[in-house]
Each structure stands twice: as C-alpha cells, then as structure tokens.
C-alpha cells in the first residue's frame, strides 16, 4: 500500500531543495553585484588601506555561495 505520509514528506523535501537552489542562484547574482560595486567604488576612492580586505571578503562570499549551491545539488 502506498504511504501517503511518506509522499508528503518527500514532496516537501523536493520543494525545499528546489527553493534552496533557486534562492542560492539569486544570491550568487546578488553577490556578484556586491563584488562589482565594491571593486568599482574602490577605483573611485583609490589607495584606500582596507580596499584589499573588502574585495577579498566579496570574493570569498561569492565562492561560499557557489559551494553552497553545488553542495545543495549534491547532497540534498
């Protein structure tokens, strides 16, 4: 006999996975905009002492978002 409760849970998890992936994709786009803005503003205000730190954080964020996306595809 088909377990309807299992089907409901399975549906919820699939929905959660798709939502997470779409959300992650949008977030990658958003972080790319953040990175572009940080880079362009750094060129507006040159030689700022901490520009390197901010740019690095922006790149690291982008890498984390990408890895979260791939991990979500792989394990969920």
């Amino acid at each position: 006999m088909f377990n309807f409760f299992f089907f409901q849970t399975f549906q919820l998890l699939i929905l959660l996975k798709i939502t997470l992936l779409i959300f992650d994709l949008f977030f990658i786009v958003f972080l790319f905009i953040v990175f572009k803005q940080v880079a362009s503003t750094n060129s507006l205000i040159n030689e700022i002492h901490d520009a390197f730190i901010l740019k690095t954080i922006a790149i690291v964020n982008l890498i984390i978002a990408l890895s979260l996306f791939f991990v979500a595809i792989a394990i969920l």
Binding site: F27, F30, V34, I45, N46, H49, D50, I64, L68, L76
Partner: protein
Amino acid sequence: MERRDKNMPDIFVAKKKNTNPNKSIKQILTIDMPPKTTHHLHLISAFCEYPEHIKFVNQETDEVILLFLRRHFITNLRWIVIGAIFALIPFIFIILANFGTSLIQLPFKYSLMLTLAYYFILLNYFFVNFITWYFNISFVTEKRVVDIDFSGLVYKNLAATKLSLVQDVSYSQTGVIRSIFDYGDVFVQTAGSFENFDFSAVPHPAKVVGIIEDLIGKRGLNV
C-alpha cells in the same frame, strides 16, 4: 590742544600692537593653519584630519585632503543589534527541537544546509550594511568639498564643489545620543543653483564647520 602731565598716573594704557609690516597675509595664514601631521586611517575611522594612503578619483596632484569624514560608527548599532537578534533565532529552533516541540522534523543534511544558508545570508547582511557605511565618504580638501554617496548597492554618486562657491556652513546636533557621542549633520550651502552638501551624522560637527569656515575665510583673503 592736548595737554599731558607726566606726573599723572595713566588709568588705561593700550597695549602696543606687535605689528610687523614685513609679515604678509599669507605668512599669517600659514602660521594659523593646523600642523600638517598625517593620520593613519583604520577600518572604522569616521573622522580623520590629513588622512594618509587615500586618494579619490579626479584628485589633483597638489590637492591635499584636509578632512576625511564618514557617519559616526555608532550609527551602525541598529543593524548590528538586528543582525545579532537574527543570529540567535536558529538556537531557539534547536532548543524547541530538543524538547520535541518542533513543527517539522527535517533530515539532518537539510537542517544543516538551511542553517548554513541562513548564517551565510546573515553574514552578507552585515557585509552589505558595512560597505554601505564604509563607502559613504566625504572629503574636505584645500580646494573643494567632495561627497561620495553609496546606498542600496546600486546607487553611487560623486559630487564636488569648489570652496570658493561655498556660501554658508552650518550644523545641527539634536538628541541625547548625538550629544553624548558628539556627532551631527553638517550642511554646506553653495552659491546659486549648485548642489548643496549634507554630511549626515559626522563626528565633531562643530570642528568640521570650523575648519570649512576657516578655509572659506582664508580663501577670501587670498583672492
């Protein structure tokens, strides 16, 4: 006819002014200027006189930055507190799950991914708010006033005006917190249809106004 008795004591004797006719206005102004000691900018600097290691686009080679301004760091307290509260929310869910009162029971890998994504978004909330504060900068140079606006990640504006066009400088400091931490809004009014400048929530507004007023005054004498 003026009569002066040498035996009579003087009630008031005006001090002789130490005027040196050889001293030019320029020399007087140079003496009055604050000492040009450069200051190192750190990550959360909001007020810095003669900052070093910083240049802005279109800066002339002989143009010295006199003042570097940002909003007072205390103005960031709002988003820091909001972020900290949101950082505690997953712990509430963990506590509820331990007591068995959680609404939905998710597999561990799903819970882990959701928690990671949540904290990552929160981290970026902090980061975006920080860079919005960080890139909102105002400069006062020997020649002009420069204001760089950066908000909402997509809005960026650089405005500058010559000091000779500045007509009036004023500041407002209202509220208990502003008085305690000594920060306020500085308004730079320019001549005619030129854009007015508004440095919001900058530290030591009276000092900022004083410096700009000095520059305008001295500029007037130099002309």
